[in-house]
């Protein structure tokens, strides 16, 4: 099946959509991981690969890019509405 996301670092808990993903579509391209999008994910935006608890780090490039502001379910869109920036 064609990959619709890229996970940059194996430690990442978010992946980048490389095409528009519709709510309910399977998230594909990461070996050993099966999940579905819980909402529409626009191309180049991030999708949560696991549950990310409130205040837990959102990890991309193997590094913390921010903290979850509220619980994020796997398959949810992750962006400024549910990610808070730290130390900027």
């Amino acid at each position: 099946m064609e990959a619709n996301v890229v996970r940059i670092n194996t430690r990442d808990n978010v992946a980048v959509a490389v095409m528009d993903i519709k709510c309910g579509d399977p998230v594909t391209g990461i070996p050993g991981l099966a999940l579905r999008a819980r909402e529409d994910i626009k191309r180049n935006h991030k999708v949560a690969l696991t549950e990310i608890r409130d205040n837990a780090p959102v990890i991309k490039y193997g590094e913390t890019i921010g903290l979850a502001s509220g619980n994020i379910q796997e398959g949810e869109w992750v962006h400024t509405h549910n990610l808070k920036t730290v130390g900027a």
């Binding site: 191309r43 991309k60 490039y61 590094e63 962006h79 400024t80 900027a88």
Partner: protein, 384 residues
């Protein structure tokens, strides 16, 4: 096993064997160009600097031009001077000759004008070229290679495909004992904590913090309201949530190694491994700084597409997406866009490393073959 390079008297190894003709001041660019027209095998280095600047900028110009002359890819250097400039030709000779390669200068006001200087220069570079042609490649180790990494004309995929690909190659080179220069301080803003945590010592960590924080302040002071453009509404619309995420997409091209040194513009690293150089994000200033710091090879990712190369350093161009690769195929060497079309990062990285091996041994990437030679010296003060 390493690569086949040209051994220089100072123990460095070139991957090219260029003879340079350099103007010490922009007033004699015409002479440099005239020599290069007559002897197209030389590399002409012309620029806008050399006089009419404050001392700090004179020093940067001097360090940059001397660094280009000292670059291991250079076999011999002819400096053309005017005679009344700040950055003098004999001064540059002095700054280059300690590395042991042939370096000469001609001062126009002493030689009797542009035609006589050109004629004499042609004779000198022909002799230098003949001598360089007698040099043979010998085997040397990867610890002799300094790779500069650059991204320019980026798009949303640069940080997803092309930069992680270059980062994987950077990690490979560092593991093999080589050096990687990560530049573009502006594009590190937001990652100061991450990069300083990766520093090899506390002292280097403090230097990393200061470097990036100072650049952040400079951006705010200089750009005013435009400083917000470092992370623009368009970036956020495009899926980047904050400056950390955006900058991580830039610095990933340096890989994940520890940061072993922080160096100023156009300065040679004194340590191996991953090194940060303070340069603007603007591509040509950055390429010039890394080349003057001794990089023999550069890898340059682009999403929008730029053909820019550098006169004495081969530049491998990597497209972040298939559309720009196809559109600019004459200028692109590798298509990282395939990483979202089923090619794994590991496979892509192996391909890039193979290309690096071929380029260091003499294969010409597109920017080099097309003579896309760009050079700008990063001066900061006013001209007088």
């Amino acid at each position: 096993m390493g690569f086949m390079g040209f051994r220089r008297p100072d123990g460095s190894w070139g991957i090219r064997n260029h003879v340079l003709v350099v103007s010490s001041v922009s007033c004699v660019n015409g002479v440099v160009n005239a020599i290069a027209r007559e002897v197209p095998e030389v590399k002409a280095i012309t620029h806008t600097e050399g006089c009419g600047r404050g001392l700090a900028d004179v020093e940067v110009t001097m360090r940059t031009l001397a660094g280009l002359g000292r670059n291991p890819n250079v076999a011999a250097v002819l400096i053309i001077g005017l005679g009344c400039e700040f950055v003098t030709a004999p001064g540059l000779v002095g700054a280059i000759q300690s590395c042991g390669k042939p370096v000469e200068c001609l001062v126009l006001q002493q030689e009797g004008g542009s035609k006589k200087t050109t004629a004499k220069g042609v004779t000198i570079v022909r002799e230098m070229l003949a001598q360089a042609a007698g040099m043979r490649r010998e085997e040397c180790g990867w610890d002799s290679l300094v790779l500069g990494v650059e991204c320019g004309g980026s798009d949303a995929l640069s940080g997803v495909t092309a930069n992680p690909l270059v980062g994987a190659a950077a990690d490979w080179l560092v593991a093999a004992g080589g050096t990687v220069i990560l530049s573009e301080t502006t594009e590190m803003i937001g990652t100061e904590e991450i990069l300083s945590r990766r520093a090899a010592s506390q002292e280097i960590g403090a230097q990393v913090l200061k470097l990036i924080k100072d650049q952040g302040r400079l951006a705010r002071d200089t750009l005013g309201p435009l400083a917000d453009m470092v992370i623009s509404p368009g970036n956020i619309e495009g899926g980047l949530s904050n400056i950390q995420e955006k900058s991580l997409g830039c610095i990933i091209k340096g890989g994940n190694s520890s940061v072993n040194e922080v160096i100023s513009y156009s300065t040679k690293p004194s340590r191996r491994g991953l090194v940060l150089m303070d340069t603007p994000g603007s591509d040509i200033f950055s390429l010039t700084g890394m080349a003057a710091g001794g990089a023999q090879l550069m890898v340059f990712t682009t999403g929008r597409g730029t053909p820019a190369g550098f006169p004495i350093v081969p530049v491998i161009k990597i497209a972040s997406n298939s559309a720009v690769y196809t559109l600019l195929e004459d200028d692109m060497d590798l298509n990282a866009g395939r990483l979202i079309e089923g090619v794994r990062l590991k496979e892509g990285a192996a391909e890039l490393i193979d290309l690096i091996r071929r380029v260091v041994d003499g294969y010409q990437p597109k920017a080099e073959a097309n003579l896309q030679d760009c050079l700008s010296i990063h001066t900061v003060g006013p001209a007088f």
